[in-house]
Subunit: 376 residues, 2 copies
């Protein structure tokens, strides 16, 4: 039976969408070849550049984030060229699979699920590439499947020093944590609308550097809808090559306004605070987090279940008793961990809500009960 | 200066979106891996099958219609294989270009812009293919750039009798005019959300036949985001391979409800009536239509300007005085014709609105003034 209770989406996308953004999306769409829409498109592009601290053009795609990852490979890596894929979870593996789908010669550098990529291992892997044959390195900034954030700054420097392209899946980091594209010299940064950008799913983005554009010029992969050159040419003319999602681009201008009102530094601090508050809270409930503090994602937290209450029960009760949706583990971690998203339009009191609900389900550990005594 | 007046979009997409659909889209998105969303997805898929009179699975893509056309080629036509592209306007040419982008050996069968494809010319072209090397024929059902509707039923029979695949761009016909997919044996039918389906732009659809799936099995083109097999597999499991546009799929279930309320036959009749009413009205204003009656599109009408008022003036005055947006001609017809869309959520009184406005701008012809005399 459907519940009338407002849902709290603590999954890694879709994430909570502010009413202001929903109201913008609900406006009647305008013609995408109108001067009014050109203004909106340029406002969105400028806002994305502002948030990414970059002069690189952010291409706006009507697709999910995976569409942007597809385009990142299809536009820069030719059949048979070497790609080093850094894999510490499902989304790192997806990037590797996309490169393989386009016929690249992919080598995976893996970290155990729950651990980050070791930048020194990247340095060693690249050092073996004495002929400089590795064209590109794919990396997941924030690995959603485990809740790990990688040290993108250090990894990017190693990759760029080697002379390869750094292709970044920043789908669940961009908008929540610093991704200074120009300073870190990131070649392609892909993100999506339904994460920290506070929109529903439906837009993909790809910021493309000068080095990446040089690779695009040499690309021989077949492509049409995700042909980045078509987007660049059109965006220079204040338009899009194909019909864009005008409603969500209007929504994006509203979410960017909100991000400017809060300020970038405050957004970054808020996400760190959400992470730390949640981690502290779940530990007080006797639960263990999957990822160590040093590499814990600011946007999603993976948690082991308690000894007495398993993952299916926790997820079911959160959903049925409190209408809070949290994510299961993925693939080899399915049913073994649960994941709580806290990206975008989420505040400390929402973490409080989640902790309250979790406490009703898993109870408190014996030692905590002793400490708090009769008040429990 | 922005106008507060409600805009009437008479362009070939985005088209007017009903309030009911906008309200559905404005709902807070739900998780795409939830049982609730699976129900919504299946409702949308069933509705699309109902409208297309088909058992073929309609794949729902987060993309524009062009994404669906890209996928239609990428999944069925291999590099070097022969494609016959029927071109009577900009969108027929786009389909040919997509096939070329994927390395197909494309032959164009052209009709003059403003004229339809002659089915007998298709028969002759295929008769020359004695070795049956032509893998697929691309055709635009309704050529938006000129306002021509092609005789898809006859063309499809000729193509299927020859043993080739028939790949159909039905972007501006599906939802307004019959496209009985199974009866006409159409192999891939592509459409988009922002036309007669009464949604904003952001969804692409591709209905895939058994014959087309056989070609998919033999496809060697690189692809990932538009890999049709991934969508089929997921949809059989009541889900999607990548994050879908949950908001617009919810909107789609609402627009399908409305289409069922009106009834398919009534929808088809309404679009024919809109076309005939508009054509009669513009002729009474002394203007000439581009396409002859026998091949006139039920969803978009192309019109030559009057001798005294040119296309830029007509478009500018419709926009500035009445906030009605009509489309310019495209490419070689730019500035020479204007196009009035009447697809989806458009009714006879809206045609009346457009004719009233047009009359204020182009006036009435001398002979019409004589006839109506003092009343003018």
């Amino acid at each position: 039976m459907p519940s009338i209770e407002r849902e709290f989406l603590m999954i890694p996308g879709p994430t909570p969408v502010p009413d202001r953004v929903l109201a913008a999306i609900a406006k009647h769409p305008l013609g995408h070849r109108s001067a009014d829409f050109s203004d909106i498109l340029m406002e969105a592009i400028d806002g994305l550049k502002w948030f990414g601290d970059t002069q690189n053009e952010p291409l706006i795609l009507a697709s999910s984030g995976t569409g942007g990852m597809d385009g990142a490979i299809a536009n820069t890596v030719n059949r048979g060229e070497k790609v080093l894929s850094l894999v510490c979870g499902v989304f790192g593996e997806r990037f590797a699979k996309i490169a393989e789908a386009y016929g690249a010669d992919v080598t995976r550098l893996k970290a155990e699920y729950g651990s980050p990529i070791d930048p020194e291992a990247v340095r060693e892997a690249l050092a073996k590439d004495t002929k400089k044959e590795i064209k590109a390195v794919t990396v997941t900034h924030n690995e959603t499947s485990t809740g790990v954030i990688n040290d993108l700054k250090t990894i990017a420097k190693i990759v760029k020093d080697h002379g390869a392209l750094i292709l970044v899946d920043a789908v669940t980091s961009f908008g929540a944590t610093p991704v200074p594209i120009d300073e870190w010299k990131l070649d392609i940064v892909v993100t999506g609308s339904q994460k920290a950008l506070m929109l529903p799913p439906g837009l993909g983005f790809a910021f493309v550097s000068d080095d990446a554009w040089k690779a695009v010029e040499k690309s021989t992969q077949p492509r049409f809808y995700f042909d980045f050159k078509k987007y660049l040419k059109s965006q220079k003319e204040r338009t899009t090559p194909f019909t864009p999602n005008v409603s969500f681009i209007l929504g994006l201008t509203e979410s960017i306004k909100m991000m400017k009102e809060e300020g970038k530094e405050n957004i970054f601090k808020r996400h760190v605070h959400l992470r730390d508050t949640l981690r502290k809270g779940v530990r007080e409930l006797g639960l263990k987090t999957v990822v160590d503090d040093a590499h814990a994602s600011p946007t999603i937290t993976s948690i082991w279940p308690s000894e007495s209450v398993d993952v299916p029960t926790i997820r079911k009760q959160l959903k049925e008793r409190f209408r809070i949706t949290v994510a299961d583990g993925q693939e080899e971690l399915k049913g073994k961990i649960f994941r709580m998203g806290h990206m975008g339009y989420v505040f400390e009191k929402d973490i409080g809500t989640a902790l309250y609900a979790l406490k009703q389900i898993v109870g408190q550990p014996a030692n905590a009960k002793e400490k708090t005594g009769a008040h429990v």
